[in-house]
Symmetry: D2
Subunit: 432 residues, 4 copies
């Protein structure tokens, strides 16, 4: 393992979102330079959304630095205002923010449905495993330090404020990714007033609250999130890319299980597909592994795999149409049509429901807002906490708006079939 170096001076890294990322702590500098963190340079932050937005090639590495920087700014503001914040945990919080995504799979969230274990679990494993460079650097702080970091990431650390800073309704993670995804794609909707959000945040006992003068800033932040979901994360083309990614890997898994793909696939990816991957193998996977495998698979003997892999590389995606539940009665007819056009409907006729998986609601209609799943406004004059959606109609509107969107994805040729067009037109209440 490489010798780790220490820094003394303030270091900076240029960043398109925050201008500069400032590092004073040599431990943090060394963590950034571990191979596990450097791997994140080869994993796209937005998964397959780069197929919808040519600017969306930014990496999870840049985002991880951004999370660190946002925490640094928030903690700095707390110190400047003499808020009651447990500054003895500053380094721990900064590090947990920096590392919380270190376990991401290739294409970030795009593969999450394919995996048996969520990325946070992998992050925690990287932190705890004694063979990683990350673990080594962490333990150089003090024996057992890595365990504290793991606890913050898995939300079992006993100081709720620290956990909330890394994973909560108004955490550094979201504050960074909304801004970053917005800047990279050029979709302006995700920007909000980060400096002011930081200014109105305040630790009150064991909660991160927002002073009531910041209500409109919180509204703007939550609406930015709403817009980014619809413009980017749930964009029909982003989804088409993710569906295709999922289908390629599903087909590959089936072939692997029949031992048909071994010669063409690196061992680590084989293990990943079989579901028995080791940490070491897992950490050798990145976007490039998949792209390179797809390049091999596109000339493989299995015509379905070859076609699917080519489609992803060449961006020949399936095409979508709105598919509300009441259309499901026509599904078998469509499957038949897909087959007639020459495709196996198991891979080429996909109903996709978005809105339920990626979007976490701020407050369900029948839920009591709890400590963790709500954003709280704090009014100094009478020392009262109020949940934000109860005083903001726009927030209430998007909190309750959890109607998932259903779309059907099929090859473009299907759209050229008169029968398919008729079927869509027959639907009186179809659409959006």
């Amino acid at each position: 393992m490489k010798r780790l170096e220490m820094t003394e001076d303030e270091k900076v890294i240029k960043d398109p979102v925050h201008g500069y990322i400032y590092v004073h702590d040599p431990i943090i500098w060394n963590l950034m330079n571990t191979k596990e963190m450097q791997r994140l340079r080869r994993i796209r932050q937005l998964g397959a959304a780069y197929l919808a937005y040519p600017g969306g090639d930014h990496s999870r590495f840049a985002h991880s630095l951004g999370v660190y920087e946002v925490i640094r700014q928030i903690i700095g503001a707390f110190a400047r205002n003499n808020y009651e914040w447990p500054h003895e945990y500053d380094r721990l919080t900064l590090i947990a923010g920096l590392l919380h995504d270190v376990g991401h799979a290739p294409f970030s969230h795009s593969l999450e449905r394919f995996m048996t274990m969520r990325h946070e679990k992998w992050s925690v494993m990287v932190v705890r495993d004694p063979t990683t460079e990350v673990h080594e650097v962490l333990e150089s702080v003090s024996p057992g330090f890595s365990e504290l970091v793991a606890e913050v990431i898995e939300k079992t650390f006993p100081v709720p404020l620290i956990v909330a800073m890394v994973s909560g309704q108004l955490d550094a993670d979201r504050l960074d990714y909304l801004m970053r995804d917005s800047v990279a794609t050029g979709v302006d909707y995700g920007t909000f007033d980060l400096a002011r959000i930081i200014r109105v945040m305040e630790p009150r006992k064991d909660r991160l609250v927002v002073r009531d003068s910041g209500i409109h800033t919180v509204e703007a932040y939550l609406l930015a999130r709403y817009f980014m979901y619809w413009q980017v994360y749930f964009h029909p083309v982003s989804r088409a890319g993710e569906i295709l990614l999922h289908t390629v890997l599903t087909r590959a898994r089936q072939l692997v299980e029949k031992n048909e793909l071994s010669a063409l696939t690196p061992p680590a990816l084989l293990a990943f597909l079989r579901g028995d991957v080791t940490l070491g193998d897992y950490l050798s996977l990145d976007d490039a592994t998949l792209f390179a495998a797809f390049t091999v698979w596109r000339v493989s003997g299995d015509s379905i795999l070859a076609d699917l892999a080519s489609r992803f590389l060449d961006r020949r995606l399936l095409k979508e149409v709105a598919w509300p539940k009441n259309r499901d009665s026509h599904l078998s007819a469509v499957q038949q049509l897909v087959k007639e056009v020459g495709y196996d409907p198991n891979y080429y006729c996909i109903v996709d429901e978005t809105g339920t998986v990626y979007y976490d609601y701020y407050l369900g209609s029948d839920l009591v807002p709890t400590h963790e799943n709500a954003i709280w406004l704090y009014r100094k004059s009478d020392d009262r906490l109020t949940e934000v959606s109860s005083v903001s109609r726009p927030i209430q509107a998007i909190a309750a708006d959890h109607h998932p969107v259903r779309r059907l994805y099929v090859p473009r040729e299907v759209f050229r079939e008169a029968r398919f067009q008729r079927l869509l037109e027959d639907e009186a209440n179809g659409g959006r």
Copy 2:
């Protein structure tokens, strides 16, 4: 080959630099969707500079769309002002701009010194080769159209104005990449007033000239270029990445020549390393191919290759020190030192001279400005053309400033050696 589709409506693509990229021509839309163009999504515009700037992950695909869009805007301005421009070549120009980079190798310019044929040659080959989708779409315009496109890219097309728009001192290529690289990295220096550059450009007979009121806009553009070279393209870390990339491939080539790497390397990459790659193989290479090969090589039996590949993936770059020519007498001592520290100086002791290869001078001191290699100011009142550096001291300054910078790159451990430090201190006039 896939069926190509036609579009009727205006299409747009969101872009972080130009806001939107507008497409009206179905031929252009189809070209964007060819697999050869889609491959550029997997090639970083800035090569290894993403190791210096975490935001520098943007693709050559996005840049190619940008070049198209800049040409579209310039041609639009010419039409609006009734300038004498051969509008019968509009489609040709737009397409040549879109396609001029389609032949780029992985990591764009970073591998150029390693290759025997420049990327423009490959671009022309993609355009002309009857097996490519690009060629098929071009020929659908009219038989022989692909040949015209090839001629514009290789600068043999007989209408100089059309060639100048795609490759010249003030072409759409540079106008886009300076802005784009600047926005992506967050390095502000590359921005300039694109709208005004477009406004002051004018076709005069067979030259693209700039009206004299635009002198300061041209100054700002050329200085943006100067700054981007020093801040990004010649950045010591960008160069360290490119050097490492070059060294890994050099080592790999040596092993390939000894037939030692075949099992671990995809055939297309083997052919590339051997220098006898076919167009089909070449087009299957992208950044991912190299990353995936490095992941395999890092556990290969050749310890030098394994170390170099690991270093690139984990960003453990060589470290630089200024190395003016007068230090060359000490070079063999340093090589000895590198060896003693445990490294083969052939791979771990590299003198790098930048400034000569990538930077094209606007006007060498002993050169007469020619038609093509100069930017010309046009004064309406007396119908006179003047070369810009003759009326602008800042431009003159950077045109003449072709002192290359020399740097020595060695492993960090060497810097810890007292003998190395003494050697550097002995130099009275060392350093920049």
Copy 3:
């Protein structure tokens, strides 16, 4: 009257919002150079809001150019897409947009409540009056042209599309001012995707509609409007400035009616205060007239006028506290307190209700959406128009949210009184 000049070339004006404003039509160039338009350079776009936002000094002149530019871009997009738009009215529309605010009083909307005639009426008068330069330029197009412009501005022109472009729920006026006020103040909330709004707009028969794919863009636009109202236009300090402006003029009017201020006040302002101002006098009034009068009045014999004028110039505004209706029973006690502290409550104890005057609701709860007061989504597949709030919960939320905010403004000294503080605390349900 000055000789008007004609332009042939495209002219541009640099603009912080749109980059450049492009002018091809010499009539429009000449209109911009009339003295009535130039007067708008001396009238603040945001009235007294510059007291809340030091960047808010931009002029109504810049906004008027911006409205023109937005119309120019929209019409250009319509032409590019071959939409059915009455292009024979292009010049008329552009001119009506440019001139619609030419009748604004000093400090724009801040004085509107003080005036007997709204600014649109004055704009129409400037257009029609044969003594103005604006009228002269308009009539040089063709006799009677000024009348058409006046009709568009006063919404009686028989082509609804033309009127909607200048004054509607999604008109060029709003599209410009939200962006401009946002950029100038630095309050980011007002920005939205103008290029995309323009792209999804479409003339359908006699309505300007939005294609249904643009639903989120419209949401973002309307929410930008919502945020700008709360962050800028209804900001407590903006309102405090407007209240003070109103109070100074009210006091001045009373003195004028008693003939006490004549020596210190320019005749045009006297006439304005008396309510019998001629057009010529009115057009000699600008922000400077009031500032200069206040400078004189601050040393006048009337101590109330002197104090109020000083307060405005020196920004010693009244201070606000939330004042819901149920606090009105305490109002006389507060007035008494104000008097005891030494101020006349008629001028120094003001209840301000905002939300009703400046904010136009998109859809009142009991209203049927009409042609003009709604934004319509158009779905091509079934040629259907839908009012936007019926398909967007966030829009519905802000459309219905017309609870005005009530605030009480009194001198700061009152807040130091224990009785006042007790009174506020007594209120169980006071606040926000």
Copy 4:
């Protein structure tokens, strides 16, 4: 005088350049609220340049806050890096930066040539005069504190570092105004990397130096300055406005000396024109005073004054043509022509030389760089200071480029005269 208030919490002011301006010190908050500082809200930062750039209406108040904020950021960076900086003078430096422009006349620099005393002298007078609110607040810090502030502004304070922060080649004043003027006008050339400039600045003994890694950042800053001079401050229309302003006041002064303007002009302005203005009178003057006077003068009996005042209000400026020294032999012919067209050449035929007054050169060819008039690069490795232009060709280029531009301004009618056109054409070597 009003009771001053104290603040305890951090206050912020929204700003289009710096995002937010942060204030912790109640003394500084109170200074911002003095009437002398509030007056700067009514003085345009860019003088008459708003006639060239419709966005250039921003005030000297906003700039003064910006200077304060830049100093705050620089001092913060010094503290974070433990540089040797006399932090006991932090408050003094911040206050001197905030107040250094408090003595500006209407239209800022535009009137400077008309005045007998420069604005810095007036600023110092405001600070020292016991009748000002500024003085009162300063003395509340400690008796004699105002004197220290005055010394920093007039550069006699014995700590050079403190003086250099407020007035030097790389001071907070320039860092703010270049950015601010650039943002407001929309002229991008003035932006540079402020965060990085701050990062590479370092106090070394009694100088503010720049670490040598910051050479390109300094280049970009100085070139931004170069561009802003040519694009904004020396813009022909900006100069035309300033010339007209100067001419109106010159004519007015002549009439005042003949006692002809008294009835139409406020006493303070009369005193200003006569050159015997008191501080109190001076502080009652702002842009509005002049606009209001011009509005009166435009209908005065003196036809020259009336025309000149109208021209300024209505922006009917004189028109310029390049006028190199060798054309001066034709000047009397032009004056004769101006007279024939109906204008008095004393007011309507002005030769303007720019470049000598506003642009301070970094290093004259025959000057030894001194402590104060140079920017110094610091190299840590050998502890050496180098003057920047000696290592940067672009800086050298603009440092030496002090050829002033000469322009002739005459009424537009003159350009329509054939004799004038012939005269211009006769000049073989005329033009820029």
